[in-house]
């Protein structure tokens, strides 16, 4: 049981952390390119900003799905129920 709970905690941390890592690098690149583009042609800045927000939300999507799954495992871990059922079946 402790192994299951401990490994679940590590899995949750990896899910959130690696997702955040990827999104951080991606957004950094995106923001940098946007600022370069806005500096070269300031009149395009509003249009570029709209498109930047669209790409931000697309980047966020997979990271957020990872966060959702991680929080599900943190608070409603299905493995614990399975383990308890297996233990009850073996012990009873």
């Amino acid at each position: 049981m402790e192994i299951v709970i401990g490994l679940t905690a590590i899995a949750v941390a990896l899910l959130i952390g690696l997702g955040a890592l990827g999104v951080g690098i991606g957004m950094g690149l995106l923001g940098g390119r946007f600022l370069e583009g806005a500096a070269r042609q300031p009149e395009l800045a509003p249009m570029l900003q709209t498109k930047m927000f669209i790409v931000v939300a697309l980047l966020d999507a997979v990271a957020m799905i990872g966060v959702g799954i991680a929080l599900f495992f943190a608070f409603a871990n299905p493995f614990i129920g399975q383990l308890q059922a297996a233990q009850a079946a073996a012990g009873g």
Partner: protein, 289 residues
Amino acid sequence: MAAEAGHGPLTSGDYIAHHLQNLQACKAETGEWVMNIGHNAADICSGNPMAINVDSMFWSVLLGLVFVVSFRGVAKKASTGKPSKFQALVEIIVEFVDGSVKDTFHGKSRLIAPLGLTIFVWVFLMNLMDLIPVDWIPMVAGAAGITYMKVVPSTDVNVTFGMSIAVFFLIIFYTIKNKGVIGFIKEMTLHPIAPPTKGFGLIAAPLIIAFNFVLESVALIAKPISLSLRLFGNMFAGELIFILIALLGVYQLPLHFGWAVFHILIITLQAFIFMMLTIVYLSLASETH
């Protein structure tokens, strides 16, 4: 954090689980409809595939009605001479959606702009419910005997998948309407690698068609799934962080404020993205070169 009426002192885990539980109604084995209020256990409907999340249904329909009634009221009383402030707000929103559709949608359809407006305002209103302090509405509902209530419909997977599956059917409908069934099948089997049609390479054509089909099916199915899970993940994570901050006692106030201000951006962005991606997908489905 404070002991809720009728519950006694709760552990943190209980508080979180209480706030993440939907008000559900389902048909028990006896054939009668039960809800998980009163003496029934919280998970009386868990595992039942036909369970209905009554709270999500109620709040999403209510917010849809708020949108339709208020916008229609403004449209009927619209005056060019002396617009009221609410009419000005509605005009800003409608012009914004209209501009987005004009920029992105390259086909001809009378459905797209109203669809975009509905999606944007409805998703925005549903997300806006997340800014109401976590305990207020559930406490009022608890006093009325309803034990569990989640007020943010977009934190319910069923709601977001309902919307994205509707968009998915619209994508297929528009593809078939603008390109025909043959065009739809051609699009699925002849992109992205055009199979050779004469000479020696003809042997490889079925393999390439199968490969194309797998790739295009995955891309097609990924559209509604990513659309709904993006909204769900963002809203669920936001709501959960609100609940976790609420566990901190008096220190929750500055943290709540900071997170709520950030969440305002997330709410608007997610509604805008749902609308933009719907318009983009429908534009891709309607392009006839």
